[in-house]
Symmetry: C2
């Protein structure tokens, strides 16, 4: 800690931008300022770089039969995947299925469709191991079900929900499309797109630029554009291209995938250390499921000490961390995810989420654990 200004354990909320990515972005912004839809040399250069970046990402993810839509982030990508697909296909049926543990951008997109546009939504429960109950899913499918959306890696507790199982079941038993929010999965676990119709991604969760993300969509699918505009992105998403952000996305995804194995090896060491230490603290109960989670997210609760107190005390020691989903920044609100796992209200209100990054060391985490123990000692009732 001596040379660091602070210890940042909030990488699930947002990561620090990679210096090389920022350098490339800055260069592109300065040099390629033309509108990618302009037909002169500079516009065409920008457009070509953007097409190249798009194809690079499709190559990297091995998804040649998908269309890539550049978005302002994963929240927009999730909104397009759900609202644009539902509105486009409403004549085929108005029933939708999702789970109780989705990110707010998914959860509230479904809420929007139910509240304003007369759609009916089924919210699936979770098994105690954090996976989807496949029998419940099968029983929920109806002839008018047009979309099922279930998160790939949970953003609060890090659970991996194997989408291959549920997508196969959906395809065998219905005509519904399958959407997976892969924001916390990219660069952390291997991705398989079999039976996946739509998948959402973010750049700033993998050391990329803010305000940048993308949606993959099977190339024969049509949507009702959430953001209407000109002929940009074949009419799927209007608005002047954020070309520098879109172009640098290829590098962002490439670096995340290239480093995945090495990062995971190190993250596993960090994760094993933390689980061991946290389990040894009697007042702590784990919310993450160690053998079915990504290494970089560890969620736990401290008996009888509210999240706010722990967060403030850690903050005073320059340790930056969050309670759970940063989108739900009201600590007195229940956590939908922990509720779905039948955690008590007390456990929900004392939740802490560690978001690791491969640049961290065991020494950093030793400092965190020591500080946490001191705080628990000071504040426990």
């Amino acid at each position: 800690m001596s040379f660091k200004e602070f210890l940042y354990l909030d990488n699930t909320s947002s990561t620090k931008i990679d210096k090389e990515i920022l350098k490339t972005y800055t260069y592109l912004t300065n040099r390629y300022f033309a509108n990618a839809s302009s037909l002169h040399t500079l516009g065409v250069e920008v457009k070509n770089l953007e097409i190249k970046a798009k194809n690079q990402v499709l190559d990297l993810l091995k998804v040649k039969n998908y269309r890539l839509i550049f978005t302002s982030g994963a929240t927009e990508a999730n909104n397009i995947a759900i609202k644009s697909i539902a509105i486009k296909n409403q004549h085929l049926g108005k029933h939708l299925i999702t789970s109780k543990v989705e990110h707010d951008s998914v959860y509230n997109s479904f809420k929007f469709l139910a509240d304003y546009l007369g759609f009916e939504v089924t919210y699936l429960n979770l098994n105690q191991d954090g996976t989807i109950n496949l029998d419940e899913l099968k029983n929920s499918l109806r002839p008018d079900t047009i979309l099922v959306s279930i998160i790939g890696v949970n953003n609060e507790i890090g659970t991996i929900i194997n989408h291959q199982k549920w997508c196969k079941l959906v395809k065998e038993n219905s005509k519904a499309l399958c959407h997976v929010d892969m924001v916390q999965a990219l660069g952390k676990i291997d991705l398989d797109f079999l039976n996946v119709d739509l998948a959402s991604f973010s750049a700033h969760k993998i050391n990329g630029i803010n305000g940048s993300g993308f949606l993959l969509i099977r190339d024969h699918l049509k949507i009702a554009p959430l953001i209407s505009g000109g002929s940009q992105q074949d009419g799927f998403r209007g608005g002047t291209s954020n070309s520098p952000a879109n172009i640098v996305l290829a590098k962002t995804v490439r670096l995340a995938l290239e480093k995945q194995e090495e990062n995971n090896a190190h993250l596993k060491i960090l994760s094993d250390f933390l689980y061991k230490e946290l389990k040894a603290i009697s007042t702590i109960s784990l919310n993450s499921i160690q053998n079915n989670s990504v290494y970089n997210i560890i969620n736990f609760s401290v008996n009888n000490v509210q999240s706010e107190i722990i967060l403030n005390a850690l903050n005073n020691k320059n340790i930056y961390i969050s309670a759970g989903s940063t989108c739900q920044d009201d600590l007195y609100e229940d956590s939908r995810v922990l509720k779905a796992l039948n955690k008590s209200e007390k456990e929900q209100r004392s939740r802490i989420r560690i978001g690791l990054d491969a640049s961290l060391t065991i020494k950093d985490l030793q400092y965190f654990i020591e500080t946490l123990k001191e705080i628990i000692n000071d504040y426990a009732i």
Copy 2:
């Protein structure tokens, strides 16, 4: 031209980013990488800077009684203003009014509401001076009209449509809300928000960052969020804040307003020169209306030479320019704006739009005019 790589006359499509703005943006991205919704010191610092920027913009535009929603650009802002307001207020009526000369992001947002959600849209004609026919507007207002949206400064021909006239008429004769697309107005003409309920803006049109814009909305108004997500921006627009872009927006708007008078003085000289020269070319007809337009947009047609030929020939001489709205990049498509002004098909297909910037000189434009004359001489039938 000797020291310049190319002559860029496409500033209405996109402007070159100001070096100071890019420098600030890069600094912010590197330093303030935390999620603005995180509750630790770094998150709170980011959030506070964002709130400060928001208040600065509201101060600069003298609109204290408005909410500012940061968006990924003006296209998203226009989509929110139209779709989110219409969907939220659909129980009050499903009739909407706009004009035939709107930007694609407005035009196609109305089309979306008509095509997918059962709204009825009236498209107003233009007077020959490029203004709205107020009698037609008055006759179009109905008890179920919930929104009127008319562009402030036309993006193809630069016509100023005085929104004070039509907004007053709407307020006196209906309960409809008034939206003005002010993208091409900011930094070019003085803005008056009397009777305006919603107004949209872009950063990259005023030397700001790509993928950044904002919507002003009267602070008592509610919307159905186009982009659902967490509690960011009070639930009006979900998604992790693009904080560096949002924070630097204050500087972008400030610089645009500070330079407005000086820039306009210089742009008037450039504009007067161009009008004089263009009028002297017998095969050219003007589409812009000189005495009712901003100085930086001049649209004209060349008799019997198609846009594509002129654009290519200019491009070969390193002059970068567009035919009209860059969003409609198909040159064989009619221009809705020129059509509304009763321009012939021939005139529409030979349209050229000059987009000026205050950094240009008379010498630059002399080179442009000479080159244009040569091209007309070479290609005219």
